[in-house]
């Protein structure tokens, strides 16, 4: 992979980390608030179903994970296992697609 792409990936990972920082904070606060007085599926769905604000929030959250996790994992694999090259990149694109698919499926499940 050429240097320019490497550096752009690095920038994408840093920017997605900033987005994740905000998303994780909001997510944790939501958990704390939602847990008060017990937790039920009905209560969660009541909050999320048809609510566009939560839908957009969690789509952004999933998008940030899709960008962030595979790039970080790529660096860890390169450093720890010494794997690099096109096959590793393909593997991580597949991982990114899987994370996106699973994440959006979950978001849709609590929205629709």
């Amino acid at each position: 992979m050429n240097t320019r792409t490497e550096v752009r990936l690095w920038a994408a990972q840093r920017i997605s980390a900033m987005v994740l920082g905000v998303c994780v904070f909001v997510h944790l606060i939501t958990i704390m608030v939602a847990m008060r007085g017990g937790l039920s599926a009905a209560e969660i769905l009541e909050r999320t179903q048809g609510n566009w604000a939560w839908f957009v929030f969690y789509v952004v959250f999933v998008a940030a994970v899709v960008v962030h996790a595979p790039i970080g994992l790529r660096t860890i694999i390169e450093e720890w296992l010494g794997w690099r090259g096109t096959w590793l990149d393909i593997l991580l694109v597949v991982l990114a697609a899987a994370l996106g698919l699973w994440g959006l499926r979950a978001v849709w499940a609590v929205f629709a």
Partner: protein, 238 residues
Amino acid sequence: MSDFLTVRVWRGDEQGGFQTFEVPRLESQTVLDVVSHIQRQLDPTLAYRFACRVGMCGSCAMTVNGKARWTCRTHVAKVAADGNLELAPLAHLPVVRDLVTDMSAFFDKWARARGQFHPTATRKDPFARIRPDSAQRINADAGIECIGCGVCYASCDVVQWRPDYLGPAALNRAWTLVNDERDGAQAERLRAVAGDAGCHACHTHLSCTERCPKHISPTAGIAGLKRAAMKAALRGDL
């Protein structure tokens, strides 16, 4: 203060081992004094390097009780309060013999990081006027006093994990030149230092900054290189 130091010194090459010497303890004694005493009084076959003895030349760095240090400016009282010293060659470099390492890889990486100044003017041009209080001049000043001792390189975990990593000293040198507005190889230099064997491999462990005897922060320079490379990549200049 006891009258003698017990000094374990690395002998041989990579497959060598420690040899123990008893060295008289003196007031204001430096670690280099101890090594010189061993070589002059106890065993003239001991190999080690030094030149200036005053912290300018960067020749005498060794591993002292597990940490890389410049030995000419390291007082025994500071590092061996209990009277025990263990001296080994710098880590992450091939051992030539005893306390001497082959520093070729270290300096080759300075060249790979485009550590050379590329002039843009001739002797017929007027002098460049650089304001002492300009941000670039201040950045260059912060890193310019490097003496090339290799302490940061020997202290860096990433150098240990990835032998192709350029290392803190070479990247610090590149950062001083990135901030030199007279230099004409900026794009090439950023290409040379960006990527997974360059500044982006740094994990910000700060060992280089912690150990640098000149109190330089290569970590700050590496962060600066990351910012400069990102801007260049986003502009399409990289």
